[in-house]
Protein backbone atom coordinates (compact mmCIF):
# COMPACT_ATOMS: atom_id res chain seq x y z
CA UNK A 1 0.00 0.00 0.00
CA UNK A 2 2.77 2.43 0.95
CA UNK A 3 4.72 1.46 -2.17
CA UNK A 4 1.64 2.25 -4.28
CA UNK A 5 1.06 5.61 -2.59
CA UNK A 6 4.74 6.52 -2.99
CA UNK A 7 4.68 5.54 -6.67
CA UNK A 8 1.60 7.60 -7.52
CA UNK A 9 2.78 10.56 -5.47
CA UNK A 10 6.16 10.52 -7.18
CA UNK A 11 4.51 10.33 -10.61
CA UNK A 12 2.21 13.21 -9.79
CA UNK A 13 5.06 15.42 -8.57
CA UNK A 14 7.50 14.50 -11.35
CA UNK A 15 4.92 15.05 -14.09
CA UNK A 16 4.16 18.51 -12.73
CA UNK A 17 0.51 17.63 -12.18
CA UNK A 18 0.48 18.92 -8.60
CA UNK A 19 2.06 22.24 -9.61
CA UNK A 20 -0.46 22.59 -12.42
CA UNK A 21 -3.38 22.19 -10.01
CA UNK A 22 -2.06 24.89 -7.68
CA UNK A 23 -1.26 27.24 -10.57
CA UNK A 24 -4.72 26.78 -12.07
CA UNK A 25 -6.36 27.29 -8.67
CA UNK A 26 -4.51 30.56 -8.15
CA UNK A 27 -5.25 31.66 -11.70
CA UNK A 28 -8.99 31.15 -11.26
CA UNK A 29 -8.92 32.92 -7.88
CA UNK A 30 -7.01 35.80 -9.48
CA UNK A 31 -9.54 36.22 -12.27
CA UNK A 32 -12.32 37.23 -9.91
CA UNK A 33 -10.74 40.45 -8.56
CA UNK A 34 -9.98 41.41 -12.18
CA UNK A 35 -13.53 40.68 -13.30
CA UNK A 36 -15.37 42.19 -10.35
CA UNK A 37 -13.10 45.10 -9.64
CA UNK A 38 -11.43 46.36 -6.47
CA UNK A 39 -14.53 46.20 -4.31
CA UNK A 40 -13.01 44.76 -1.12
CA UNK A 41 -16.32 44.22 0.67
CA UNK A 42 -17.84 42.33 -2.28
CA UNK A 43 -14.72 40.20 -2.75
CA UNK A 44 -14.67 39.36 0.95
CA UNK A 45 -18.32 38.31 0.78
CA UNK A 46 -17.94 35.98 -2.23
CA UNK A 47 -14.28 35.04 -1.69
CA UNK A 48 -14.90 31.81 0.23
CA UNK A 49 -17.22 30.53 -2.48
CA UNK A 50 -14.72 31.55 -5.13
CA UNK A 51 -12.00 29.53 -3.42
CA UNK A 52 -14.25 26.45 -3.27
CA UNK A 53 -15.20 26.83 -6.94
CA UNK A 54 -11.56 27.30 -7.93
CA UNK A 55 -10.59 24.23 -5.90
CA UNK A 56 -13.25 22.16 -7.63
CA UNK A 57 -12.18 23.25 -11.10
CA UNK A 58 -8.50 22.75 -10.31
CA UNK A 59 -9.21 19.25 -9.01
CA UNK A 60 -10.55 18.35 -12.46
CA UNK A 61 -7.19 18.86 -14.18
CA UNK A 62 -5.32 15.67 -13.23
CA UNK A 63 -8.36 13.37 -13.32
CA UNK A 64 -7.61 11.88 -16.73
CA UNK A 65 -4.12 10.81 -15.68
CA UNK A 66 -5.08 9.04 -12.46
CA UNK A 67 -6.25 5.69 -13.87
CA UNK A 68 -6.17 5.71 -17.69
CA UNK A 69 -2.39 5.45 -18.22
CA UNK A 70 -2.09 2.57 -15.73
CA UNK A 71 -4.99 0.75 -17.34
CA UNK A 72 -3.37 1.13 -20.75
CA UNK A 73 0.04 0.02 -19.47
CA UNK A 74 -1.35 -3.20 -17.98
CA UNK A 75 -0.46 -2.16 -14.43
CA UNK A 76 -3.83 -3.25 -13.01
CA UNK A 77 -3.39 -6.68 -14.66
CA UNK A 78 -0.24 -7.10 -12.59
CA UNK A 79 -2.02 -6.08 -9.38
CA UNK A 80 -4.80 -8.62 -10.00
CA UNK A 81 -2.33 -11.41 -10.80
CA UNK A 82 -0.70 -10.70 -7.43
CA UNK A 83 -4.08 -11.11 -5.76
CA UNK A 84 -4.26 -7.46 -4.71
CA UNK A 85 -7.66 -5.88 -4.13
CA UNK A 86 -8.45 -3.25 -6.75
CA UNK A 87 -10.47 -1.34 -4.13
CA UNK A 88 -7.32 -1.06 -2.00
CA UNK A 89 -5.35 0.02 -5.06
CA UNK A 90 -8.00 2.70 -5.70
CA UNK A 91 -7.78 3.78 -2.06
CA UNK A 92 -3.99 4.07 -2.39
CA UNK A 93 -4.50 6.19 -5.50
CA UNK A 94 -6.97 8.36 -3.59
CA UNK A 95 -4.50 8.94 -0.76
CA UNK A 96 -1.67 9.72 -3.18
CA UNK A 97 -3.88 12.06 -5.19
CA UNK A 98 -5.01 13.89 -2.04
CA UNK A 99 -1.41 14.26 -0.84
CA UNK A 100 -0.43 15.69 -4.22
CA UNK A 101 -3.14 18.36 -4.38
CA UNK A 102 -4.86 18.76 -0.98
CA UNK A 103 -2.10 20.27 1.18
CA UNK A 104 -0.67 22.39 -1.71
CA UNK A 105 -4.18 23.73 -2.37
CA UNK A 106 -4.57 24.63 1.30
CA UNK A 107 -1.30 26.53 1.18
CA UNK A 108 -2.31 28.28 -2.04
CA UNK A 109 -5.62 29.23 -0.40
CA UNK A 110 -3.66 31.57 1.88
CA UNK A 111 -2.46 33.51 -1.17
CA UNK A 112 -5.92 33.42 -2.72
CA UNK A 113 -7.39 34.74 0.55
CA UNK A 114 -5.09 37.75 0.26
CA UNK A 115 -6.25 38.41 -3.30
CA UNK A 116 -9.90 38.08 -2.29
CA UNK A 117 -9.64 40.22 0.85
CA UNK A 118 -10.74 37.38 3.16
CA UNK A 119 -10.54 37.89 6.91
CA UNK A 120 -8.41 35.60 9.06
CA UNK A 121 -11.57 34.04 10.48
CA UNK A 122 -12.96 33.25 7.01
CA UNK A 123 -9.60 31.89 5.90
CA UNK A 124 -9.56 29.58 8.89
CA UNK A 125 -13.02 28.32 7.97
CA UNK A 126 -11.92 27.83 4.34
CA UNK A 127 -8.87 25.85 5.46
CA UNK A 128 -10.92 23.62 7.77
CA UNK A 129 -13.44 23.08 4.97
CA UNK A 130 -10.72 22.19 2.46
CA UNK A 131 -9.06 19.85 4.95
CA UNK A 132 -12.34 18.00 5.38
CA UNK A 133 -13.65 18.23 1.81
CA UNK A 134 -10.60 17.62 -0.36
CA UNK A 135 -10.25 13.90 0.60
CA UNK A 136 -13.79 13.42 -0.73
CA UNK A 137 -12.86 15.37 -3.84
CA UNK A 138 -9.80 13.13 -4.33
CA UNK A 139 -11.90 9.97 -3.97
CA UNK A 140 -14.41 11.32 -6.47
CA UNK A 141 -11.60 12.19 -8.88
CA UNK A 142 -10.19 8.64 -8.78
CA UNK A 143 -13.65 7.10 -9.28
CA UNK A 144 -14.39 9.48 -12.17
CA UNK A 145 -11.03 8.71 -13.72
CA UNK A 146 -11.77 4.99 -13.53
CA UNK A 147 -15.21 5.49 -15.07
CA UNK A 148 -13.92 7.44 -18.07
CA UNK A 149 -10.68 5.46 -18.56
CA UNK A 150 -10.69 3.71 -21.88
CA UNK A 151 -13.71 5.66 -23.09
CA UNK A 152 -13.08 7.37 -26.39
CA UNK A 153 -13.13 11.13 -25.74
CA UNK A 154 -13.21 10.42 -22.01
CA UNK A 155 -11.45 13.69 -21.25
CA UNK A 156 -14.37 15.67 -22.59
CA UNK A 157 -16.89 13.98 -20.32
CA UNK A 158 -14.73 14.02 -17.19
CA UNK A 159 -16.11 17.37 -16.05
CA UNK A 160 -19.66 16.39 -16.93
CA UNK A 161 -19.37 13.29 -14.75
CA UNK A 162 -17.44 14.73 -11.83
CA UNK A 163 -18.78 18.25 -11.31
CA UNK A 164 -22.44 17.33 -10.62
CA UNK A 165 -21.30 14.67 -8.15
CA UNK A 166 -19.10 17.24 -6.42
CA UNK A 167 -21.94 19.73 -5.93
CA UNK A 168 -22.71 18.55 -2.35
CA UNK A 169 -19.08 19.19 -1.40
CA UNK A 170 -19.34 22.67 -2.89
CA UNK A 171 -22.63 23.46 -1.15
CA UNK A 172 -21.53 22.30 2.28
CA UNK A 173 -18.02 23.67 1.81
CA UNK A 174 -19.35 27.11 1.00
CA UNK A 175 -22.00 26.74 3.70
CA UNK A 176 -19.32 26.08 6.30
CA UNK A 177 -18.11 29.67 5.81
CA UNK A 178 -21.24 31.10 7.42
CA UNK A 179 -20.17 32.37 10.88
CA UNK A 180 -23.71 31.87 12.22
CA UNK A 181 -24.66 28.40 10.98
CA UNK A 182 -21.45 26.96 9.61
CA UNK A 183 -21.08 24.16 12.17
CA UNK A 184 -23.93 22.11 10.68
CA UNK A 185 -22.51 22.49 7.18
CA UNK A 186 -19.10 21.35 8.40
CA UNK A 187 -20.66 18.17 9.77
CA UNK A 188 -22.51 17.55 6.52
CA UNK A 189 -19.34 18.26 4.54
CA UNK A 190 -17.51 15.70 6.68
CA UNK A 191 -20.32 13.19 6.14
CA UNK A 192 -20.27 13.60 2.35
CA UNK A 193 -16.48 13.43 2.26
CA UNK A 194 -16.47 10.30 4.43
CA UNK A 195 -19.08 8.59 2.25
CA UNK A 196 -17.03 9.38 -0.86
CA UNK A 197 -13.74 8.17 0.65
CA UNK A 198 -15.39 4.97 1.89
CA UNK A 199 -17.48 4.23 -1.21
CA UNK A 200 -15.66 5.65 -4.22
CA UNK A 201 -12.76 3.11 -4.14
CA UNK A 202 -15.27 0.27 -4.62
CA UNK A 203 -16.88 2.11 -7.54
CA UNK A 204 -13.43 2.78 -9.00
CA UNK A 205 -12.45 -0.88 -8.57
CA UNK A 206 -15.58 -2.05 -10.40
CA UNK A 207 -14.95 0.44 -13.22
CA UNK A 208 -11.28 -0.61 -13.51
CA UNK A 209 -12.30 -4.28 -13.58
CA UNK A 210 -14.79 -3.53 -16.37
CA UNK A 211 -12.11 -1.63 -18.27
CA UNK A 212 -9.72 -4.60 -18.06
CA UNK A 213 -12.13 -7.07 -19.68
Amino acid sequence: MIALIRRDLRRSVSSGGATLVVAFFLLVATLFPFAIGPDGALLARIGGGVIWTAALLAALLPVERLVGPDLEAGVFDQFVVRGMSLALVALAKTIAHWLSFGPPLMLAAVIAAGLLNLSADTLLRVEIGLLIGTPGLAALAVATSALVAGVRGGGAVTGLVMLPLAVPLLIFGAGSLDPAGGAGAVKLLAAVSLVLVAGAPFLAAAAIRAGMD
Partner: protein, 175 residues
Protein backbone atom coordinates in the same frame (compact mmCIF):
# COMPACT_ATOMS: atom_id res chain seq x y z
CA UNK B 1 -17.24 -18.67 -28.09
CA UNK B 2 -13.48 -18.67 -28.72
CA UNK B 3 -12.61 -22.23 -27.71
CA UNK B 4 -13.94 -25.16 -25.72
CA UNK B 5 -12.77 -28.46 -24.31
CA UNK B 6 -9.38 -27.11 -23.25
CA UNK B 7 -8.06 -29.01 -20.26
CA UNK B 8 -4.51 -29.38 -19.05
CA UNK B 9 -2.47 -29.91 -15.93
CA UNK B 10 1.07 -28.65 -15.45
CA UNK B 11 3.33 -29.94 -12.71
CA UNK B 12 6.61 -28.57 -11.42
CA UNK B 13 9.14 -28.24 -14.27
CA UNK B 14 6.47 -28.56 -16.98
CA UNK B 15 5.78 -26.21 -19.84
CA UNK B 16 2.94 -25.84 -22.29
CA UNK B 17 2.85 -23.91 -25.54
CA UNK B 18 -0.48 -22.51 -26.71
CA UNK B 19 -0.55 -22.30 -30.49
CA UNK B 20 -3.05 -21.31 -33.13
CA UNK B 21 -3.82 -18.65 -35.71
CA UNK B 22 -4.51 -15.02 -34.86
CA UNK B 23 -7.72 -14.37 -32.98
CA UNK B 24 -8.28 -17.95 -31.90
CA UNK B 25 -8.02 -17.06 -28.19
CA UNK B 26 -4.39 -17.66 -27.16
CA UNK B 27 -4.19 -14.41 -25.20
CA UNK B 28 -7.63 -15.03 -23.71
CA UNK B 29 -6.46 -18.42 -22.45
CA UNK B 30 -3.46 -16.77 -20.80
CA UNK B 31 -5.74 -14.12 -19.22
CA UNK B 32 -8.06 -16.86 -17.95
CA UNK B 33 -5.06 -18.68 -16.44
CA UNK B 34 -4.05 -15.38 -14.82
CA UNK B 35 -7.56 -14.91 -13.34
CA UNK B 36 -8.04 -11.73 -15.35
CA UNK B 37 -10.91 -13.28 -17.29
CA UNK B 38 -13.48 -15.77 -16.07
CA UNK B 39 -14.26 -18.73 -18.34
CA UNK B 40 -17.89 -19.22 -19.33
CA UNK B 41 -17.55 -22.80 -18.16
CA UNK B 42 -14.92 -24.66 -16.20
CA UNK B 43 -12.34 -23.47 -13.75
CA UNK B 44 -8.67 -22.73 -13.25
CA UNK B 45 -6.76 -23.90 -10.21
CA UNK B 46 -3.25 -22.72 -9.47
CA UNK B 47 -1.47 -23.52 -6.23
CA UNK B 48 1.45 -21.14 -6.71
CA UNK B 49 2.01 -17.45 -7.32
CA UNK B 50 1.95 -16.33 -10.93
CA UNK B 51 3.87 -13.84 -13.01
CA UNK B 52 2.26 -12.49 -16.16
CA UNK B 53 3.73 -11.15 -19.38
CA UNK B 54 1.32 -9.38 -21.70
CA UNK B 55 1.69 -6.97 -24.57
CA UNK B 56 1.74 -4.08 -22.07
CA UNK B 57 5.01 -3.79 -20.17
CA UNK B 58 3.53 -2.43 -16.89
CA UNK B 59 6.82 -0.58 -16.35
CA UNK B 60 6.67 3.13 -15.50
CA UNK B 61 7.99 4.93 -18.59
CA UNK B 62 9.50 7.79 -16.58
CA UNK B 63 11.49 5.62 -14.18
CA UNK B 64 14.80 3.98 -14.86
CA UNK B 65 14.58 0.32 -15.77
CA UNK B 66 16.09 -0.79 -12.45
CA UNK B 67 13.69 1.43 -10.45
CA UNK B 68 10.69 0.18 -12.43
CA UNK B 69 11.69 -3.42 -11.78
CA UNK B 70 12.31 -2.70 -8.09
CA UNK B 71 8.77 -1.33 -7.74
CA UNK B 72 7.28 -4.69 -8.73
CA UNK B 73 9.86 -6.59 -6.71
CA UNK B 74 8.92 -4.52 -3.65
CA UNK B 75 5.27 -5.51 -4.12
CA UNK B 76 6.32 -9.15 -4.32
CA UNK B 77 8.09 -8.56 -1.01
CA UNK B 78 10.92 -10.94 -1.67
CA UNK B 79 14.09 -10.26 0.35
CA UNK B 80 16.38 -11.46 -2.43
CA UNK B 81 14.68 -9.37 -5.12
CA UNK B 82 17.80 -7.29 -5.91
CA UNK B 83 19.83 -10.41 -6.62
CA UNK B 84 17.07 -11.76 -8.82
CA UNK B 85 16.72 -8.47 -10.70
CA UNK B 86 20.47 -8.42 -11.35
CA UNK B 87 20.36 -11.99 -12.65
CA UNK B 88 17.36 -11.28 -14.87
CA UNK B 89 18.99 -8.16 -16.32
CA UNK B 90 22.16 -10.11 -17.00
CA UNK B 91 20.31 -13.05 -18.56
CA UNK B 92 18.57 -10.70 -20.99
CA UNK B 93 21.61 -8.53 -21.67
CA UNK B 94 20.04 -5.46 -20.12
CA UNK B 95 22.75 -4.57 -17.57
CA UNK B 96 23.92 -1.58 -19.56
CA UNK B 97 20.37 -0.23 -19.78
CA UNK B 98 19.53 -0.49 -16.08
CA UNK B 99 19.81 3.25 -15.48
CA UNK B 100 18.00 4.32 -18.65
CA UNK B 101 14.38 5.57 -18.36
CA UNK B 102 12.00 2.94 -19.68
CA UNK B 103 10.49 5.38 -22.20
CA UNK B 104 13.83 5.56 -24.02
CA UNK B 105 14.04 1.80 -24.58
CA UNK B 106 13.31 0.38 -28.02
CA UNK B 107 10.40 -2.01 -28.58
CA UNK B 108 12.63 -5.06 -28.33
CA UNK B 109 14.47 -3.73 -25.28
CA UNK B 110 11.18 -2.97 -23.58
CA UNK B 111 10.01 -6.49 -24.33
CA UNK B 112 13.16 -7.89 -22.76
CA UNK B 113 12.60 -5.59 -19.77
CA UNK B 114 9.09 -7.03 -19.36
CA UNK B 115 10.52 -10.55 -19.45
CA UNK B 116 13.06 -9.44 -16.83
CA UNK B 117 10.14 -8.29 -14.65
CA UNK B 118 8.64 -11.77 -14.86
CA UNK B 119 11.99 -13.47 -14.22
CA UNK B 120 12.71 -11.23 -11.23
CA UNK B 121 9.32 -11.87 -9.64
CA UNK B 122 10.33 -15.21 -8.17
CA UNK B 123 6.89 -16.58 -9.04
CA UNK B 124 6.94 -20.32 -9.83
CA UNK B 125 4.29 -20.02 -12.57
CA UNK B 126 5.08 -17.93 -15.64
CA UNK B 127 2.24 -16.96 -17.97
CA UNK B 128 3.79 -15.56 -21.13
CA UNK B 129 1.69 -14.06 -23.89
CA UNK B 130 3.67 -13.76 -27.13
CA UNK B 131 7.01 -13.33 -25.30
CA UNK B 132 9.05 -13.37 -28.53
CA UNK B 133 7.24 -10.45 -30.16
CA UNK B 134 9.71 -7.79 -31.20
CA UNK B 135 12.76 -9.85 -30.21
CA UNK B 136 15.72 -10.58 -32.48
CA UNK B 137 17.11 -14.11 -32.82
CA UNK B 138 19.76 -13.60 -30.12
CA UNK B 139 17.15 -12.33 -27.66
CA UNK B 140 14.82 -15.23 -28.53
CA UNK B 141 17.66 -17.62 -27.67
CA UNK B 142 18.11 -15.81 -24.35
CA UNK B 143 14.37 -16.11 -23.68
CA UNK B 144 14.45 -19.84 -24.42
CA UNK B 145 17.43 -20.29 -22.10
CA UNK B 146 15.63 -18.34 -19.36
CA UNK B 147 12.53 -20.54 -19.67
CA UNK B 148 14.71 -23.66 -19.59
CA UNK B 149 16.50 -22.42 -16.46
CA UNK B 150 13.17 -21.61 -14.82
CA UNK B 151 11.87 -25.12 -15.51
CA UNK B 152 15.10 -26.67 -14.31
CA UNK B 153 14.51 -25.04 -10.92
CA UNK B 154 10.98 -26.45 -10.72
CA UNK B 155 9.13 -23.59 -12.40
CA UNK B 156 6.15 -23.87 -14.72
CA UNK B 157 5.70 -21.96 -18.00
CA UNK B 158 2.55 -21.49 -20.03
CA UNK B 159 3.48 -19.77 -23.27
CA UNK B 160 1.14 -18.46 -25.96
CA UNK B 161 2.93 -17.83 -29.21
CA UNK B 162 2.44 -17.78 -32.94
CA UNK B 163 6.20 -18.08 -33.45
CA UNK B 164 8.28 -21.22 -33.17
CA UNK B 165 10.06 -21.33 -29.81
CA UNK B 166 12.49 -24.03 -28.72
CA UNK B 167 10.90 -25.23 -25.49
CA UNK B 168 11.91 -28.91 -25.10
CA UNK B 169 9.28 -31.44 -24.02
CA UNK B 170 6.60 -28.76 -23.84
CA UNK B 171 3.03 -29.85 -24.13
CA UNK B 172 1.30 -28.28 -27.13
CA UNK B 173 -2.18 -26.86 -26.71
CA UNK B 174 -3.49 -26.16 -30.20
CA UNK B 175 -6.52 -23.89 -30.32
Amino acid sequence: MLFSGVSFDLQSGNAAVVTGPNGVGKSSLIRIAASLLAPFEGSVTCDDTKALLTEASALDPDRTLIAALRFWAALDDKPVADTRIARALSALDLDALADIPVRLLSTGQRRRASIARVAASGAPVWLLDEPANGLDTVSIARLEALIAEHRATGGIALVATHLSLAIPHAREIAL
